[in-house]
Amino acid sequence: MNIFERILEDPVRFKKVKKIFYISLILMALIEVAIVYVFHLGHGYFWFEGIPAFGSIYGFISCALIIIVSKFLGHHWLMKKEDYYD
């Protein structure tokens, strides 16, 4: 058993990993807001970069958009059976 197996196969440890993941997400979003509005560090190139936690929001929207639009295109147009060209 390697270290990854010990973490992922044990339900208790796995739950802990999940918890750390969610907490760090919230922390990241908060720090992202704080850097711009509390510490006034750095400036963006465009107005929308001033939206609080723009990176986090845009990342989430991008991810969802890419999955949904790609799969839609795939199922209705691009994806064919594996022997399509044979």
Binding site: M1, N2, I3, F4, E5, L8, F21, S24, L25, M28, A29, I31, E32, I35, V36, F39, L41, G42, H43, G44, Y45, F46, E49, A53, F54, G55, S56, I57, Y58, G59, F60, S62, C63, A64, L65, I66, I67, I68, V69, S70, K71, L73, G74, W77, L78, M79, K80, K81, E82, Y84, Y85
Partner: protein
């Protein structure tokens, strides 16, 4: 005293001697070839070397400046890593074509004029096609021919562009083409470069050919063809506005297909298209910062993409499986491969402290600095998609996910060492970006590690991961293939063959054949008959008549030509006498 040896020569000439070595010595020799090339590149001083006067033109084999040196370094480093990865392969042909391929990429890098560029351009196409053929399966041979077809077309475009350019300007020098913007030569050469850079709709050859190449050959292929195209684009087409949009579209195009893909190496191939999109976009923006970004991203990309292909190749080599639907749970027995793959995955996803972060952000920031809002948003969106597919989807379904029950060992040691070398450089560049920045063509006034930058990158990545786990079921790979623009020539060829076999052949047999009988064959026979009659009566008669006349006159001549000197002397004397008489009397 030889002033300069082209580093590519070590590889191209050296490759031919590979079959002479055996066992351990061969392995040493194989690693020595790209190492010698790297040392050659490092020792090369800036300036113009290797100019050969040929047929009235100066062919420049060594145009050495900061830009060509940067690419030559990474090309030779990747050559070393690639050959270490391939050391266990027993097939000499693969080693030879790989080394010739790397050597010709160096040839393209140092080419100072368009002729030399063209020569190495063709060399690259053929040696890379061999890496596909040498997998020897039916699919590989077919894909190899398609690869060759596309790249021969690209070569023809390049040659056509060069000849038109030469006839218009009288020069074969390869510098910025921006003064000739709008001309046919400009667009032909640009088209050729765009085909090799896999810019859609001309990029379908890439995900078609790379997954069919040999395990080790694919690692080489990921590095050279597209990135040498990026290099020549930087040289010739910096500031071409079209490229900004093509690049931004490309970045998203690759991401969309990667979401649909089930074949590991095909998914990674689509992410080459996506990543090269950043570089092409940078070339289009054309500012010093953008070109620095393109060049540095090419440098970082070659190494992490090689690493990703090595990881997927190691899984393919050990399990024999290439589809995500058939893999899963193998992290239990291949943890080292998994960790090394993830270093590549983090690098391509631009996680801070990995190489992609310091290079990709430069291109995106250049778009911001030039106030290009839409490209900026498109590239940022694509970077979320990059992490989604290469950093999350692929490793999840390949190494974790539903346990496929496959239990295989780690790959051979040389493969792990090669992956370790690439991982080391990926992290090194990420931690010490100055080491890469100091090699860039223009002075760098840019810091990637600002608090806002780092946090915004982490935000994008973190919430992409959240989206991934929330929509996980949507993303399950499906055993399908996706149609791309290669559809036109793959299905197109079928339509062409059907047309040739069915309607055209039938038309030919029933209509053209019959018509031929009446319109061509019969009249020709009739005319031939007439000609024969004319021939026997008129032509033969004339010829025979001439013959008879000659026989008769030669009978007379025979009497005169007695062969005795006295007779000739008398005739000459009579002749002279007659001439003198004529002169006096007249």
């Amino acid at each position: 005293m030889i002033e300069w040896i082209h580093p590519g020569v070590f590889l191209i000439i050296g490759a031919l001697l590979i079959p002479l070595f055996k066992g351990r010595l061969k392995q040493v020799y194989l690693v020595a070839l790209p190492t010698a090339a790297l040392i050659g590149c490092i020792l090369t001083s800036q300036g113009t070397h290797g100019v050969i006067h040929f047929l009235g033109y100066d062919l420049t084999f060594g145009r050495v400046d900061r830009l060509s040196l940067l690419f030559s370094y990474v090309f030779s480093i990747m050559g070393i890593i690639g050959i270490v990865y391939a050391l266990h392969v027993k097939d000499d042909a693969q080693h030879i074509s790989a080394m010739v391929y790397v050597g010709s990429a160096l040839g393209v890098t140092f080419a100072g004029d368009l002729f030399v560029l063209f020569i190495f351009w063709e060399f690259m196409a053929f040696s890379a096609a061999l890496l596909v053929f040498l997998r020897k399966s039916k699919e590989a041979v077919r894909a190899g021919f398609r690869y060759l077809l596309v790249h021969t077309f690209s070569g023809v475009c390049l040659l056509g562009g060069i000849i038109i350019h030469l006839s218009q300007t009288g020069s074969i020098a390869f510098n910025s083409m921006m003064n000739y913007e709008g001309g046919i030569a400009f667009y032909l050469i640009l088209l050729s470069f765009m085909i090799n850079a896999a810019v859609p709709p001309f990029g379908a050859w890439l995900p078609d050919a790379y997954p069919e190449a040999t395990v080790t050959g694919a690692v080489f292929m990921t590095a050279y063809t597209t990135k040498s195209a990026v290099y020549v684009l930087i040289r010739g087409f910096a500031g071409t506005e079209l490229l900004i949009w093509m690049g931004a579209i490309m970045a998203i195009y690759g991401v969309v297909y990667a979401v649909l893909e089930n074949d590991c190496r095909r998914l990674l191939a689509y992410h080459i298209i996506s990543q090269v999109g950043y570089m092409v976009c940078g070339v289009g923006i054309g500012t010093e910062m953008a070109l620095n970004g393109s060049a540095s991203h090419a440098f970082a990309h070659i190494l992490y993409k090689g690493l990703l292909f090595m990881g997927a190749g190691a899984v393919l080599e050990m399990t024999g499986k290439r589809k995500l639907t058939e893999l899963g749970g193998i992290y239990k027995t291949m943890p080292i491969t998994m960790v090394l793959y993830m270093i590549g995955g983090f690098s391509i996803s631009a996680v801070p402290l990995f190489s992609g972060f310091v290079s990709k952000s430069m291109v995106v920031s250049a778009a911001g600095e030039s106030h290009m809002m839409i490209p900026f948003l498109m590239l940022t969106l694509a970077s979320a998609g990059t992490f989604l597919s290469t950093g999350l989807k692929l490793p999840y379904y390949m190494f974790f996910g539903k346990d496929s029950g496959i239990r295989v060992k780690e790959p051979p040691l040389n493969m792990l060492i090669a992956m370790g070398m690439a991982s080391f450089i990926c992290i090194f560049i990420g931690v010490f970006p100055g080491s890469l920045y100091s090699l860039l063509p223009f002075p760098v006034h840019y810091t990637s590690y600002t608090p806002q930058h780092v946090m915004s990158a982490l935000g994008i990545l973190g919430f992409t991961a959240l989206g991934f786990f929330m929509l996980l079921r949507q993303l399950d790979p499906e055993p399908t293939t996706s149609i791309d623009t290669d559809w036109f020539y793959r299905k197109g060829a079928k339509v062409f063959m059907w047309l040739a076999n069915k309607p055209v052949a039938r038309f030919e047999y029933n209509v053209v054949g019959e018509a031929y009988e009446f319109v061509v064959r019969k009249p020709i026979l009739g005319i031939a008959h007439l000609l024969r009659v004319f021939d026997t009566n008129a032509v033969d008669g004339t010829v025979n008549g001439v013959g008879r006349m000659i026989v008769a006159s030669s009978m007379i001549m025979r009497v005169i030509q007695s062969g005795q000197v006295q007779h000739y002397a008398i005739i000459m004397a009579l002749g002279i006498f007659a001439i003198v008489a004529l002169i006096i009397l007249l």
